[in-house]
Amino acid sequence: MFNQVMRKGRRLAGIGSVVAALGLAAPVLAQDKEPIVFGGSIPLSGVFAFAGIHIHAGLTDYTDWINSQGGINGHPVEYVMEDTAYEVDRSVAAFKKISGNDNLATYYGDSTGFMKAIASEVNEMNSVLMSGASFATALTDNEQYPYQFIPGPNYSQMFGIILEYIASQGEGGDMPTVAFVYSDTEFGKDPIENGKARAAELGIEVVEEIVTKPGSVDVSAEVLKMRRARPDYIVFHGYILSPINEFMVQMRQMGLDTQFMGTFWSSDKLIIDKMGEDADGYMGVMPYNYYDSEEGGPMLDALRTQAEQSDPEAGYRPTGYMQGWFNAMVWTEVVKRTLDAGKELTGDNMAEALASIEDWDTGGIIGVPVTVKNMSFPVGRIWRVNAKEGRYEPVSDWIHLD
């Protein structure tokens, strides 16, 4: 009798073990599906490394987070990258290597130069959707770059948002004047012609236009020109830090009350960290909420939790991190929409899925629902530096360009 009970018990225990094992295996079985690969040419070294390191962290953390949520429709996500040192030839080599993987669906390009150089190959492959660090206006040309998109507004649209804000500051029909200062690079020149056209449409006079070498340069002569032009606003583009600081400090020393604004890569917290009190009042256009903003939302909260979990010592996460995370978020949405429609992950199908994004709730990463237009997300907000608090604070509503 005792033996019978024991045998039955053992059998039940065995069945229980199998059931338990199956139960535990259920999510694993779901993840037994083919992985979906996010590739990337990432500048972990070289001139763009200051952002590349954080972009990489954003992509890595998002991948970990989405896998913890069961992947994309049960497909696990793999993030495969190579360091490119921000050199086009190395980025191309990395792409060729990573694109050897049959499961590659989306790819992070580290520069406009690379994304343009690789376009014909991406078009021919028709199997990868690409975005990255570039907000170049040219990449929103669907004819030439049908499988590449901008993870925010392009540079011309950023100028559009800035100019709309400036126009809104005009009082009693007295429109403020503006000056453009940009670096003598493809990046720097990108939005200038469109910016001038948009300023003319809004009735804003562009009183000065200055081109400088990028990076560490003496701008005393250029500041003297500004002293004569006396613009109400200066919009910088094509810089990370210098010479924005020199313009601000020297013009304030001259007693001018010009306000200073910049585009995405000129609007990181780096400006506050390096300039300190001198950064007070500087404004930037940003499509994403800052990591330390008072805004919230389910995805923004998830991002903060994941960031803290992956590196508790890191503290504040720069805009590069937000940008990396948002890129991967869009890829996930696109892949999911394509799979849900029962379609293959081809370039055409993914581009179509991207174009179908309308009033998409990003869970607080962007503060308003967004709609894709011409392969970009033409939305942003103006933020101003509060040097005392050591952060950017919003000074406009979200501006969604039509």
Binding site: D184, T212, A221, N245, M275
Partner: protein, 292 residues
């Protein structure tokens, strides 16, 4: 024509040119004594500026202590480079030595990225911030005080070369190495001294230029602008370095102000092309220079 504007622009250009002259001096001292074209001069400047950042920013030392320490660090770096990497190349072809200096530049950039990361940096403010007016003309305070410091260093150098034993030994070695050696001058030591003094001048200029325009691992590219200065002035002429430095600084600034920032470099390279056609050895250079 707005003459006040022209005057202000010229003043800013001349002041910047003074710093170019100081860097060019560092370049010429090394070339004159050792016949080595030092392509790492920009990176030595950069390294000294980062040392200043570490001393004044990281360790929060007073600028009065941090500046001399950083300058000495840059000078020491020059001496170490000469002793460990340039001296073993004695007798090798000039192109090999040039390649070594290019390699050193690369190593210094890598080292700086490893220690201070590739983030752009601003040096802690150490120059007065009150606007400077010369009559009705405005001059940015950093440029004005940078120019004054740079000129003071230049004058000290000229006095040292004219009156000190070390200066005489340096000039003697530059004129004729064999004769200097036979007269009992320790030529190897003079070579080392030239690198130390050249790097010291570059270090002072590096800190002053970085204080004006910011600092990053790409800062050393300014060495290219200075290459134009020394070729225009004459690779082995201290007077040429001073005159060409001030002139190129002025020209670059005036061209940038009137033609646009994108014409700064074309303007200076146009002058370089004309000088090379008319005077292939530079305005004040001697004829036996071998070009590489």
């Amino acid at each position: 024509m707005d003459w006040l504007f022209f005057g202000e622009i010229s003043l800013a250009g001349l002041a910047m040119g003074g710093l170019y002259a100081l860097i060019a001096l560092g370049f010429v001292i090394i070339y004159k004594a050792t016949r080595v074209i030092n392509f790492a001069i920009g990176e030595i400047m950069m390294f000294a500026a980062y040392l200043f950042l570490a001393f004044a920013g990281g360790m929060e030392m007073s600028p009065w202590v941090a500046v001399p320490l950083a300058v000495l660090g840059g000078a020491l770096l020059g001496g170490v480079i000469e002793k460990t990497m340039i001296r073993p190349m004695l007798g090798e072809s000039p192109i090999s030595v040039v390649m070594v200096t290019i390699g050193i530049a690369s190593i210094l950039v890598g080292l700086v990225e490893m220690i201070w990361t590739s983030n752009p940096q601003l040096l802690p403010s150490f120059l007065p911030r009150e606007p400077v007016f010369i009559g009705p003309m405005y001059l940015a305070p950093k440029i004005a005080y940078g120019f004054l410091i740079g000129m003071s260093v230049l004058v000290l150098y000229l006095l040292y070369f004219r009156f000190s034993r070390g200066g005489v030994a340096l000039r003697a070695t530059a004129s004729d190495q064999a004769a200097a050696y036979s007269m009992g001058i320790n030529v190897r030591r003079v070579f080392n001294l030239a690198w130390v003094f050249g790097s010291l001048a570059a270090s002072v200029a590096g800190i002053l230029v970085a204080a004006t325009g910011g600092l990053s691992p790409q800062f050393g590219i300014i060495g290219l602008s200075v290459l134009v200065v020394v070729i225009v002035g004459g690779l082995d002429s201290i007077l040429g370095a001073l005159i060409a430095g001030v002139f190129i600084g002025w020209l670059e600034t005036v061209a940038g102000a009137y033609l646009g920032g994108e014409y700064r470099m074309p303007a200076t390279f146009a002058v370089l092309a004309v000088i090379l056609v008319l005077k292939p050895y530079g305005l004040f250079g001697t004829h036996e220079i071998e070009r590489v």
